[in-house]
Amino acid sequence: MTIALETRGLEKSFGALRVTRDLSLKVMQGARHALIGPNGAGKTTVINQLTGVLTPNSGRILLEGSDITGLSVHKRVLRGLSRTFQINQLYPDLTPLETIGLAVSERMGRGGDWWRRMGTRSDVNTEIAEILSRFHLLDVMTELTSTLPYGKQRLLEIAVAIAAKPRVLLLDEPAAGVPESERHDILAAVAALPRDVTVLLIEHDMDLVFSFADRISVLVNGGLLTEGAPDEVARDPQVRAVYLGEAADA
C-alpha cells in the first residue's frame, strides 16, 4: 500500500505554546482515516499546516511521496490536496453554480481566462452539472449561497472541495452544526465519496467516526497518543481515559 499523505516530525509553536509536537502521521492510499482528539488537542492547527495556511516550525509534509512543505495553499490544491472547513467558508454573494463553476475552471487551469465567458465550455458545464446533481444542489443552483439553508451550505462546502478533484480530501467536522433533519444528507454525501479519494476526517462526533473510519489516530496535546483500527482504539485504556471517557459521560 502506498502512502497518500504523510507528516514527519511536525512541530508548531505559538510563542511558548507547543501546539503540534513531533507529529508523524501516515495516511494510506484510499484510506478512511480519522483524526480525533479532545478540544484543544491541536487538530485544526494540523489541518492548517497540511493545507499550507500555517507553516510548521520544523518537520515535513509529503503528498504522495513528494515534499509539499513549502508550497502555497493554491498549489497544494492543484497537486490534489483539498479540504472542507469546520465553519462554512463559502462565497455569500455567489450562487452554487458559480462556486462550483469556479472550482472546476481553476482545476482545469482555466481560471485565469479573462476573454472567454462563463458557461461556454461544455466540458466545464458537464462537470458542474454532475457535481451539482450528486450533491442535490441543482434546484438551488441560481440562488445566492447566503440564502441557502444551512444543510445545503454544508453540502456545497463538501461539493466545492470535491470539484477540485482531490486525491486526498481533508474533512474538517463535516456534520458540525447541521440540524438533525438535514444530517442524513451530509452523512450520505460523506459515505458516497469515491473510494479512490483518500479521506482524512477530523471529527468530534464518535458515531460518525466509528461508522466511517477504518483507521483512527488520537491526538492529545498536539502529539500522537495512539493509532490503530477502530476497535483497537476503542479498547485502548489511555484513549478511554482522555477522550472516550468524556464522551461516554456526556
Partner: protein, 343 residues
C-alpha cells in the same frame, strides 16, 4: 441530459445583454444629439465615468479599496501631455494607449505593495503613492511644468481625420467611443472565469485559495488592468482639455471617485457610469444654487444615501419603469439592480 442544459443556460445568463443596458447606451448616444451645447460637461461626465469604472474593477469586483486612484489618472494625464507636447506620438489614439500602458506599468509595480495587508493598510498605501507622485511632479517642474502645469499642448487630429473643435464635439464622441470600447472589454472580463475568481476573492480570500485560485496573481492582474483604465481616463482629460496640471494627482480627485461609486453602487459596472452622471449633475445644480456651499449639499446627499440605503433608492427610482415594463411587456422587470444590492 436536462441538468446539463440547465447549467449552461444559467451559467451564461448573467453575461447576456439586458434591454436596460441597450437602453442605457442608446440614451448616452442620444444625449450627444439632444444637448449639442453641453459637450464639455458631458465629456467631463464620460471621463469621470471611465475613471469610476476603473475603481469599480478593483473595489466592486476584487474588494481592493483605494484612496489614491488619482495616481494612475495623473500619470496617464501627464504621459499624454508630454507625448503630445514633445511630438513623440502625435496621433491621439496611439498616444492614449501608450499613456494607459505607462499607468498600467505603475499599477503593476505598486500592486505588490497594495495586495499586502488589509483594507486600512491599502487605503494608506494607495493614498501615500498618490501624494508621492504629486510631490514628485511638483519637484520635477522642468518636466511637468510644476504648478503651472503643461502648457501649449496642441492636439493633432484623431486618426489624422477628426480635428478637436472648440465646442468639444469631437472630444465628446472620442471619449464616448473610448468609454464604450473599454466598457465592453470590462464586461467581458467580469463575466469570465477570471472575473468570477475576483468575486470569490472579495467574498472569501481564504476559501478562494483553498480551491486553487492564485489569489495574489489575480489581484496583481486586476490592479494593473484598473491602472490602465485610470491612465486612459487621465489621458482623455489631457487630450480633450489640452491641459495637465498638478491637480490631476489631487486627493480630492481620488475622494470624489469614491463618492461617485457610493452614489452609483459597485460590482455591476454601471455604478460608476450612473454615479458619474448623478454626481456631475448634482455638482452643477448645487453650484448654480449656492456657488460657495455646494460641497455642503453633496455631503448631505451622501449622508442620505448611506442612511436610506442605496437598494431602497434604486427601488424608488426604478418603480415607474418597472411598472411600465410589467404592464406592457407582461414579463418580469428588466431594469437592472446591482446584484450586491438585490437582497
Amino acid at each position: 441530459m436536462t441538468a446539463l442544459s440547465d447549467v449552461s443556460t444559467h451559467a451564461m445568463a448573467s453575461a447576456r445583454w439586458r434591454v436596460s443596458e441597450v437602453a442605457f447606451w442608446a440614451l448616452a448616444l442620444a444625449c450627444a444629439f439632444l444637448f449639442p451645447s453641453r459637450y464639455l460637461i458631458m465629456t467631463d461626465i464620460v471621463r469621470l465615468g471611465l475613471f469610476a469604472l476603473s475603481l469599480d474593477l478593483i473595489l466592486g469586483y476584487a474588494g481592493i479599496v483605494s484612496l489614491g486612484h488619482a495616481a494612475f489618472f495623473g500619470v496617464g494625464a501627464y504621459s499624454a501631455g508630454l507625448l503630445a507636447l514633445h511630438g513623440i506620438i502625435n496621433e491621439p489614439v496611439i498616444a492614449l494607449v501608450a499613456a494607459g500602458l505607462v499607468a498600467a506599468l505603475l499599477g503593476f509595480l505598486t500592486s505588490f505593495l497594495v495586495i499586502r495587508g488589509v483594507d486600512l493598510t491599502r487605503l494608506m498605501v494607495t493614498l501615500g503613492i498618490a501624494l508621492l507622485l504629486e510631490a514628485l511632479a511638483e519637484r520635477f517642474s522642468n518636466i511637468t511644468g510644476g504648478t503651472d502645469g503643461l502648457q501649449g499642448i496642441e492636439m493633432q487630429p484623431i486618426l489624422g481625420l477628426f480635428t478637436f473643435d472648440m465646442f468639444g464635439k469631437t472630444g465628446f464622441f472620442y471619449s464616448l467611443i473610448v468609454l464604450f470600447i473599454l466598457f465592453l472589454l470590462a464586461r467581458r472580463v467580469v463575466h469570465s472565469p477570471f472575473g468570477l475568481s475576483l468575486r470569490a476573492i472579495r467574498n472569501n480570500p481564504l476559501r478562494a485559495a483553498a480551491i486553487g485560485v492564485p489569489v495574489n496573481r489575480r489581484l496583481i492582474a486586476v490592479y494593473t488592468l484598473a491602472a490602465f483604465y485610470a491612465g486612459i481616463a487621465g489621458a482623455l482629460f489631457t487630450q480633450t482639455t489640452a491641459l495637465a496640471s498638478l491637480d490631476v494627482f489631487s486627493f480630492e480627485r481620488s475622494a470624489d471617485l469614491m463618492l461617485v461609486l457610493v452614489i452609483g453602487g459597485t460590482g455591476y459596472l454601471y455604478g460608476g457610469l450612473i454615479g458619474a452622471v448623478v454626481f456631475k449633475m448634482l455638482q452643477e445644480l448645487f453650484q448654480s444654487i449656492t456657488p460657495q456651499y455646494w460641497l455642503f449639499w453633496i455631503g448631505l446627499v451622501l449622508v442620505v444615501i448611506v442612511l436610506v440605503g442605496r437598494a431602497r433608492i434604486h427601488r424608488w427610482v426604478l418603480f415607474v419603469p418597472n411598472l411600465i415594463i410589467r404592464q406592457f411587456a407582461g414579463r418580469k422587470a428588466a431594469v437592472a439592480v446591482p446584484e450586491s444590492d438585490a437582497s
